[in-house]
């Protein structure tokens, strides 16, 4: 990346552009890269899902828009048609600034990046509630309230699994959590092995979380599509896969070592050519490992979505409150006890 920037800077400098303009253009190019990465990742997941559905003859689990479009054209014009999708897009694109792509390439590094991720996850819930209230339809209001209740119950189990990982790593900083999954041990040092219960709780709750936020409750025939115009339906369908990919990156950072390779050493360090080239190659390799692992996790999440049963409101609440939440709390207590006994800070 350094070599690319040098050539880019020299080329534009010879054209006579000022330094500030060159830097601004470089940032715009990187911003375009980020949008392209999001689109490519989401589209790859969509392609994987469609090919799997043909292979398994199971049918598509993503929402069909034909019935919903008829409902939307019946309903009156809402005041927050244009605002709701933005409340969904902002967290998904803001999270790209918190992820550690390598141990040096972190846009916004803070000591509480894990909690920031959880905060950004909660913003779409406000969108559902206030979007539901902006209508004057009592059924939609009650349905939006019920979806928020179910989504919050899953969010609690996510919170406890997150906090258990933070106790293992003794920090909320994502970079330090990845560093705690040490490089020397390779795949055996990842947090998935001591903390497998939290991993299972997190994956199952994330599947239902994304489906509820961007799909809706099946028995009430309510979805976020009721609150938006038909033009925006396709972007929301696309956002679901972007959200799944970002949750996959999050799972990889917490449980699968993030940007660390599974072997215990970097492949680019095998042959020492030049200090600068080796260090820049290590950063590139870290970015590759992160996206490779997150793609695998994302594809496995989509594979899992084909098989589980479709649950209604009462069963979802039972599943979250009776099974997931006690498991995550117990796991958190056990990890605290182990950490206390081992004398770790």
């Amino acid at each position: 990346m350094d070599i690319v920037y040098q050539y880019y800077f020299n080329f534009l400098g010879k054209l006579g552009l000022s330094d500030v303009l060159i830097i601004v253009l470089w940032h715009i190019l990187l911003f375009g890269l980020a949008c392209v990465a999001l689109c490519v990742s989401a589209s790859l997941l969509i392609v994987f899902e469609r090919s799997l559905s043909k292979f398994l003859n199971k049918g598509n689990f993503s929402f069909s828009t034909t019935d919903l479009e008829q409902e939307i054209f019946k309903s009156p014009k809402y005041s927050c048609q244009n605002i709701l999708p933005i409340l969904f897009i902002i967290p998904i694109l803001a999270i790209w600034g918190i992820i550690p792509y390598s141990n040096k390439y972190i846009p916004v590094e803070s000591d509480v990046s894990l909690l920031l991720f959880f905060l950004l996850m909660l913003i779409p819930i406000m969108g559902i509630l206030f979007g539901g209230y902006s209508t004057k339809n009592k059924t939609i209001i009650s349905a939006s309230v019920k979806t928020t209740i179910v989504v919050l119950s899953f969010a609690l189990s996510i919170l406890f699994s997150i906090v258990s990982v933070a106790t293992l790593a003794s920090s909320f900083n994502l970079n330090e959590i990845i560093a705690a999954q040490s490089l020397n041990k390779g795949a055996l040092g990842w947090f998935v092995f001591p903390n497998i219960i939290a991993f299972l709780v997190l994956t199952s709750s994330i599947l239902f979380f994304t489906d509820l936020l961007l799909g809706g409750l099946v028995d009430l025939r309510f979805s976020i599509f009721n609150l938006c115009s038909a033009k925006i339906l396709k972007t929301i369908d696309f956002l679901k896969y972007g959200a799944i990919f970002i949750f996959a990156i999050f799972i990889v950072c917490l449980f699968f070592g993030g940007y660390l390779p599974p072997f215990g050493f970097y492949l680019s360090e095998l042959y020492q050519i030049n200090y600068v080239l080796n260090t820049s190659a290590v950063y590139v390799e870290q970015i590759f490992w992160l996206f490779f692992k997150s793609m695998l996790v994302g594809c496995s999440l989509i594979l899992i979505r084909f098989f589980p049963p479709v649950l209604d409101y009462k069963k979802l609440v039972k599943y979250s409150c009776i099974i997931l939440l006690p498991c995550s709390i117990l796991n958190f207590i056990i990890i605290c006890i182990i950490k206390g006994i081992s004398g770790g800070v």
């Binding site: 990346m1 350094d2 070599i3 920037y5 040098q6 800077f9 020299n10 400098g13 330094d19 500030v20 830097i23 470089w26 940032h27 715009i28 990187l30 911003f31 980020a34 005041s79 927050c80 605002i83 933005i86 897009i89 902002i90 694109l93 803001a94 790209w96 600034g97 040096k104 390439y105 972190i106 846009p107 916004v108 590094e109 803070s110 000591d111 509480v112 909690l115 920031l116 959880f118 905060l119 909660l122 913003i123 819930i125 406000m126 509630l129 206030f130 209230y133 902006s134 209001i141 009650s142 309230v145 928020t148 209740i149 919050l152 909320f172 200090y275 600068v276 260090t279 820049s280 950063y283």
Partner: protein, 175 residues
Amino acid sequence: MDILSVIFFYIFSFLSIVGSIIALNSKSFLNAIMWASCVFVTVGGFYILLNATFNATLQIGVWGILIPIFLAISTSYLDKPEQNKTKFNIKFATPAISIAFLLIFILLGITSNYFERLFEVITGDLGLNLEYSSLAILSENLTLNYGFLIVLFLIVVFLLIVGLNLISVFKDREE
């Protein structure tokens, strides 16, 4: 960067005081709740200015997001004769919340020392010229420059929100 912290302080103070007055005097339940969440998010911004990021996340998460959700859920179980008279109009509350969140992200970028490094690159304090001598210095600068993308994007989103709100306001007036 002291000037930016002063500007942020005054913006947050204005938003919090004005928002609290509007929230207590509004006739619509949900307008009050939206302005209330804006106030609590700005108080979280104060905590970031005071280098208490954990307190800020707690404040924003609990007071800014979760408690407005609980209050909004509770309004569905209560009689609301006033709401039949006044419309729920989120046209002016959402820009306030978006401003608050945007400023908080900018603050987080500041605390990661992004802007200082950017200005150093522009002014040439690190001795950077068109003909580069060492790539290692460049890589150290570029690691933090990516954060500027996030700020640019959030500014664009904020302008979109304000613009769409204004368009909808003018459309309603024509009707």
